[in-house]
């Protein structure tokens, strides 16, 4: 039960302020900076600003990845559609494939822009869509009996899935920290674009 150094009133353990004079009880404060573990949220204004910036830094690769996926799928889809339109002898399924890939590009682009405003739902949706598309590709490779070596592709896919999963984890904390700052009456920092 620490006594207040200003008025000597005894205070309950864990008190931060004296119940009698209202001044800070120094015994309750830590002497050094608080080290945040993985699931901690910063409590001071400066700490919250730094933590938000760090979380935004972790989310940014996923936003860029979704943007690149969107642009690449869009370009590939457009090329397939152009080939389909210009050459009547090609397989009709090429046009369908072009349409699907192009639509996927539009979805990834949309998710990229959504992730700038609201990273958590966009990164969850991006992760599930990308993993499912990868699963569909694997099923198609197995069922079409094509001897495709996608070792390099697998590494790139694993990198993309890792970036999206990391963004989901960071976005959960980003949202919790933003809510905490809003509850404390502060101005939460916007996601860095």
């Amino acid at each position: 039960m620490p006594a207040c150094p200003h008025c000597s009133t005894p205070n309950a353990d864990g008190s931060k302020f004296c119940v009698s004079c209202g001044r800070a009880v120094p015994a309750a404060t830590r002497t050094g900076p608080r080290i945040l573990t993985d699931n901690d949220l910063a409590s001071s204004s400066a700490g919250q600003t730094m933590q938000l910036a760090e979380l935004a830094r972790q989310i940014k690769p996923a936003i860029n990845t979704l943007l690149v996926l969107g642009v690449l799928h869009g370009i590939i889809g457009a090329v397939l559609l152009v080939i389909f339109k210009s050459d009547t002898s090609v397989d009709p399924s090429l046009g369908l494939m072009g349409g699907i890939v192009g639509a996927l590009g539009a979805i990834f682009l949309g998710l990229s822009f959504w992730a700038r405003k609201n990273p958590l739902p966009a990164s969850i949706a991006g992760l599930t869509i990308y993993v499912t598309v990868t699963a569909i590709d694997v099923i198609m490779i197995i069922t079409s009996n094509t001897a495709v070596s996608f070792g390099g592709g697998l590494l790139i896919r694993a990198f993309i899935i890792g970036a999206l999963a990391r963004a989901v984890s960071a976005a959960v904390k980003h949202r919790a920290l933003t809510r905490q700052m809003a509850q404390e009456g502060g101005q939460p920092m916007r996601m860095a674009a």
Partner: protein, 261 residues
């Protein structure tokens, strides 16, 4: 002497009490800061909810992937073997959802214990008509690209060769119960703690649509998923969604009966 004590009491200033946690003066008990701390965001619980959703989704995706590959490998089978395969794949999906429900029961319990306002139970069949009409519209829209496809109708009719209770059970009842338990019960129930109302409907709908592993069905499945999610959110129960899902798939079976035969 008594008079002087009373005089002292009258002129004594009121007791000043400060909150030991936030230092606010003369606050009512309990201090509002206690309530704020109780409502404080909990990143550990939020992370657990998101991990649970993604884990369940990836288990279901793995099950669906294995089922698709096995269906391809074992494509030249007798009708009896095809029925056994359909029952086995349905059982695998159901078992996966049941394991998810057992591990995440507290996320599901509230939505199962309540039936919700009766109006949503009545709206559900009407919603099924709307989602089925949209599905027909999208399928017709894709017809020039793909040609007329009777794959789904043929599958239903093959099952119906063993009696109409087979497609009713495997196409209508099982998806209505287990897909709703998984997507609207477990996944949406968990994400509702983490995401805002609109996002908590949209993200499970995207998962529901893409898990069917059919890119061409994605648009109408997304719309159906949003309708099911809205029913779950507004009614607070999974039962109206189950009714909508049952009626929607029932219309698919009826369409196969009238057009595919």
């Amino acid at each position: 002497m008594q008079e002087s004590v009373d005089a002292v009491l009258e002129i004594a200033p009121p007791a000043r009490v400060f909150c030991p946690q936030c230092g606010a003066l003369n606050v009512q008990s309990p201090c509002p800061c206690t309530l704020r701390r109780a409502r404080a965001p909990d990143p550990v619980a939020d992370t657990a909810s998101v991990k649970f959703c993604l884990g369940l989704y990836f288990f279901l995706l793995a099950a669906c992937g294995v089922i698709q590959v096995v269906a391809y490998v074992e494509r030249d089978v007798t009708p009896r073997e095809a029925l056994a395969y359909d029952i086995a794949s349905t059982a695998v999906i159901s078992l996966t959802v049941l394991i998810g429900a057992a591990t995440g029961w507290r996320r599901l319990g509230a939505a199962l214990r309540t039936v919700g306002p009766p109006k949503w139970l009545l709206i559900a069949p009407l919603g099924a008509c709307a989602t089925f009409a949209f599905a027909v519209f999208v399928t017709r829209w894709f017809e020039p690209l793909l040609g007329k496809s009777d794959h789904e109708a043929r599958g239903v009719l093959e099952m119906a060769a063993w009696g109409w209770w087979v497609p009713v059970l495997l196409v209508c009842v099982q998806p209505a119960v287990f897909e709703e338990l998984a997507f609207r019960g477990l996944i949406q129930g968990s994400l509702a703690n983490v995401l805002s109302g609109r996002d908590a409907v949209l993200v499970p709908a995207v998962m529901f649509a893409i898990l069917h592993l059919s890119p061409l069905s994605f648009p109408h499945l997304l719309v159906t998923g949003i309708a099911l999610g809205l029913l779950r959110q507004r009614s607070g129960s999974v039962y109206p969604g189950m009714i909508l899902h049952f009626c929607h798939n029932g219309l698919v079976v009826l369409a196969a009966y009238f057009t595919g035969g």
